[in-house]
């Protein structure tokens, strides 16, 4: 549940707007980088939570 809220914050809130600006890393736009980095982190978070739960 908490993970879901984190997801909501990461992907569905004005937080995304923070990264929506003309800034480039190796000419890759920030927003593109942000989405995939946040996405990967979110998946890692889910995996970590579930691993911690055990059988």
């Amino acid at each position: 549940m908490a993970a879901f809220l984190v997801g909501l914050l990461l992907f569905c809130s004005p937080v995304t707007a923070l990264f929506d600006r003309p800034w480039y890393w190796e000419s890759i736009p920030l927003l593109y980088l942000y989405f995939f980095a946040a996405w990967a982190m979110y998946i890692a978070l889910l995996a970590w939570i579930l691993r911690g739960k055990g059988e």
């Binding site: 549940m1 997801g7 909501l8 190796e26 000419s27 890759i28 996405w39 990967a40 998946i43």
Partner: protein, 915 residues
């Protein structure tokens, strides 16, 4: 970079493409066959959590495969919510999906229509409505897959030229490859999904094939992505750089039309669709083989989505750079980019990837829809015709036939829609229209999982309302845009009433059509569902099912079986199940059930609620729960349970559940109560002992003077001629002893009064120094008799306080006479000291007597504990100190004793200025 291909002659011909496609299909069959064989041997391949997660990726259809790039080219990151939504929703699967899986397993639920129908008392009507919505909502989506396969085939056929396919509607239908695709897929699906009738409606082979397809489409898409990013360009940075110079990047990163509300509703839509689409329900719930699979899928499936999406934007940008004049549809970039660089094998791979994405979706979706059609649309009609008693033959064959025809029919419907709608609407829009349709299931399904109050009527009304709004605000306008309805309908509203404008209901504009539809349809749906549900309380069947659904995750969850009463013949049940499953398999199932209960044969099975429920769930796997209930009731003499009785059974069950909990609590309470009691008991024993001690002390103290009084009185009585002098002495002793007795009795009464708080206290303003002086004066005679000197150390200022003068005097006299008792004669000194403390006064009475031994010090204030200091029996009652302590403590102060044996003792008390 494409040198390898440019020099060669073209090998991609129509026959090669068809051959490869067929080979691919054969490979799928081989995998499916292999998986089925493995499953029969009990070594299921699809039990692997990874395979489960891959099969969930049937979510990524041709819409993802081709359409994402198209959408990215049009609206930048706007393609992402469709995948972020499921990613976020995955976090909730641990409870939501787990619950659905568990319920479906225990009730043998085989489709989403069955699930919803079952939740609201196994209603045929509800199942039918859900099926209808699903078919209407999903057929366009199937059409989209057909379109994707057929147009990718047409494009590849023209290799190396890149020509967009003509509108299929212009072709005669026999020349239209989409028709053949549809028919081939129908055949394929029938072979996959309806080879035999399974009681659990699971398709191991199909799932394995779907998992393989998910791998293929991922590999194909990633290959194209790698080729484009690192073959055509030199990495991500290069693509973005070039695209920026060409002016493609900036618009791409703008949020989609409608801003955040659209973004949010797309996330919500996709998050709902991931479990509500019939095919997703099929793979996620029905085909789930164990609950542990969920745990890996929760992170593995989002990872799959992530990998699928990494190259979407680069491909879209590369396509726009490659085909700057817009002659090539962005939806085809995945295929046309390799073609443009004459990389024919990669193009073929890309095509196969697209085929796998489309076929995977079509197969699972049509299987799911055909099951729903058969169980929830056709069966009820058949049951009505048969009058609740099926014909004697094996009905299983009939069922299979119905399903096969349903598959063909659904695919032909899809084809028809494709022919008619054709190019009218881009790929993406069709997908979202479907998503919005199945989102209508959310209130009834999710609400039903957590709220007991939902009723069949509420679910029906909610679904109908939501579906109507969806039809009006999304489907009809899409028809209008395709030219089947006048556009004026969209622009001016129905009959020209502007607040009925389909995409701006009540004047609500600016949301974008999808969010607009989602908002109004879900609002209507949820509102009606709640309102109608609240109109009446759930009836018996609804309450029973609600409990099974809502409490599914509780450790001591309820099991079905209690909610039936009547008479049944086990043989009749087996025979009836046999008509659907085949006699042998029905008997096998019942035998297994019997042996699980520890019985040798089915004849030992009791014809009770448990067996009937078993038969019903067994049948539910084949014909759906609603029909199964009707069938079972046709061979059993069921006496309908009233709501009261169901509530009674529920109460009983919950009482039993509550009971164990309560027991635990009770035993804990009992333990603590026991401890309390033991402590209280010890206290009582102590008090009892103290009372006994007190009694024996008092009687002892009373007996001593009484004994001497009696002895002297007897002497006087027996010797009347005693001398006057003797007589006077004896009488004097009697009087003294009587006085001592009186004093003792007074003190005992005094102490009792103080302890029981019955004393009357008369507080007044007094000077403590004055009081001490008077007390010392009144004991002066005592001191003088013994040659004791008393010293007073009093402050000059009056020590004023609010207290009871008589009682304090009593304490002072007690302490002074005590001191006088223990000091040696002639050399004894008594020091009385008064000191002012910040909020009170300290009085110390010190003597130079023998002191109190350390082991007696703690008990010196207890009753009848007399200091033994002088080794001879001291005079006094032994009640003086306890009385003093009672008084001081009542006045809010504290009294204590200090002593160094041999050096004297000091009694001190501290009094507050006001009690």
């Amino acid at each position: 970079m494409t040198a390898g291909a440019t020099g060669e002659e073209t090998v991609l011909s129509g026959s090669l493409i068809i051959l490869v496609s067929l080979l691919y299909v054969c490979l799928l069959f081989a995998v499916a066959y292999w998986a089925d064989r493995r499953a029969d041997k009990g070594r299921s391949v699809i039990a692997s959590p990874t395979v489960y997660a891959l099969s969930l990726a049937v979510y990524c259809t041709a819409w993802t495969y081709y359409g994402s790039v198209g959408r990215a080219a049009e609206s930048g990151v706007g393609f992402l919510p469709t995948y972020l939504g499921p990613t976020m929703a995955a976090a909730l699967w641990g409870s939501l999906l787990l619950k659905m899986v568990r319920i479906s397993k225990s009730q043998r639920i085989t489709s989403i229509a069955d699930f919803i129908a079952s939740r609201y008392g196994k209603s045929h009507l509800l199942g039918g409505l859900v099926t209808l919505i699903a078919i209407i909502g999903v057929v366009p989506y199937i059409a989209l897959q057909l379109k994707a396969i057929s147009s990718s085939f047409s494009i590849l056929l023209r290799y190396p030229d890149i020509v967009m396919p003509r509108h299929a509607g212009n072709l005669p239908f026999w020349a239209d490859n989409a028709l053949y695709v549809a028919l081939m897929l129908a055949a394929f699906t029938i072979l996959f999904g309806t080879r035999h009738l399974d009681a659990s409606e699971r398709h191991e082979g199909m799932v394995a094939a779907i998992a393989l397809e998910s791998l293929v489409k991922l590999v194909a898409f990633t290959s194209v992505g790698l080729f484009v990013t690192f073959g055509l360009f030199s990495g991500f940075g290069d693509i973005f750089e070039q695209a920026r110079q060409a002016g493609h990047v900036k618009p791409l990163l703008q949020p989609a039309v409608g801003g955040y509300s659209a973004w949010f509703s797309l996330c919500l839509l996709a998050g709902l669709a991931i479990i509500l689409l019939p095919r997703q329900f099929q793979v996620a719930v029905v085909e789930n083989s164990n609950e542990r699979q969920l745990r890996r899928a929760i992170w593995l499936f989002p990872l799959y989505l992530l990998l699928t999406n990494i190259f979407v934007l680069p491909i879209a940008l590369a396509g726009q750079l490659q085909f700057p004049n817009g002659g090539v549809d962005a939806d085809t970039f995945v295929l046309t980019l390799p073609m443009a660089r004459e990389s024919q094998w990669l193009a073929l791979l890309a095509y196969i990837g697209g085929v796998s994405a489309a076929t995977g979706m079509v197969i699972v979706e049509t299987i799911a829809l055909s099951t729903m059609t058969c169980n929830d649309l056709v069966m009820p009609a058949l049951l009505q015709r048969w009058g609740h008693t099926p014909p004697g033959q094996n009905v299983g064959i009939v069922l299979l036939r119905i399903r096969r025809w349903a598959i063909v029919l659904i695919l032909l419907l899809g084809y028809l829609y494709f022919r008619l709608a054709g190019e009218a609407y881009a790929l993406v829009s069709i997908g979202l229209i479907s998503f919005a349709a199945v989102a209508q299931f959310a209130p009834a399904l999710i609400g039903g999982l957590y709220w007991r109050g939902g009723t069949r009527d509420g679910a029906l009304a909610g679904l109908a309302a939501g579906f109507t709004v969806w039809l009006y605000t999304l489907l009809l306008p899409s028809f209008a845009k395709s030219g089947w309805l006048p556009m004026s309908f969209v622009e001016q509203g129905l009959l020209g009433i502007d607040w009925l404008e389909p995409q701006a209901l009540f004047g609500s504009s600016g949301m974008g059509p999808i969010s607009h539809c989602l908002f109004w349809s879900l609002a209507a749906n949820l509102g009606t569902f709640l309102a109608v549900s609240l109109l009446r309380a759930p009836n018996a069947a609804e309450t029973a099912q609600a409990t099974l659904f809502v409490d599914a995750l509780k450790r001591d969850r309820p099991v079905g079986g209690g909610f039936w009463r009547g008479r049944a013949e086990v043989d009749e049940l087996i025979a009836m199940a046999g008509r659907f499953l085949g006699a042998a398999r029905a008997r096998e199932a019942f035998t297994k059930h019997a042996s699980k209960l520890g019985m040798r044969s089915t004849s030992e099975l009791p014809a009770d609620a448990h067996t009937v429920t078993f038969a019903e769930t067994l049948l539910a796997g084949v014909i759906g729960s609603a029909s199964a209930r009707v069938m079972v009731s046709s061979v059993t003499k069921e006496e309908p349970l009233g709501l009261d009785e169901v509530m009674g059974i529920l109460d009983e069950a919950s009482q039993i559940r509550a009971y164990s909990h309560e027991l635990e609590q009770k035993s804990q309470e009992l333990q603590s109560a026991t401890a309390d009691l033991r402590a209280a008991n010890e206290r009582l024993l102590e008090l009892d002992r103290m009372k006994d001690d007190f009694m024996s002390s008092v009687t002892h103290e009373l007996r001593t003077p009484l004994a001497s009084i009696r002895a002297f009185a007897e002497i006087l009585q027996d010797n009347p001629d005693l001398e006057q002098e003797e007589r006077t002495r004896f009488v004097g002793i009697i009087v003294a002893e009587t006085e001592r007795l009186t004093r003792l009795v007074n003190q005992v009464l005094d102490l009792a009064k103080i302890e029981s708080e019955a004393t009357e206290w008369q507080n007044e303003r007094l000077d403590l120094g004055e009081l001490i002086r008077q007390s010392v004066d009144s004991t002066e005679r005592l001191f003088r008799n013994k040659g004791v000197r008393a010293f007073l150390h009093l402050p000059e200022r009056p020590a004023l306080l609010w207290s009871d003068k008589d009682r304090l005097t009593q304490v002072m006299l007690n302490l002074l006479s005590n001191a006088a008792k223990f000091v040696p004669e002639d050399t004894g000194t008594v020091d009385v000291e008064l000191r002012k403390y910040p909020d009170g006064y300290l009085v110390r009475v010190s003597d130079n007597g023998s002191g109190i031994p350390a082991d007696e010090l703690p008990f010196i204030f207890e009753k009848f504990r007399q200091g033994s200091g002088g080794h001879e029996k001291p005079v006094g009652t032994g009640l003086g100190l306890p009385i003093s302590r009672g008084i001081i403590e009542h006045l809010g102060g504290r009294i204590w004793a200090e002593s160094t044996p041999g050096m004297g003792a000091t009694f001190s008390f501290l009094l507050p200025e006001s009690p």
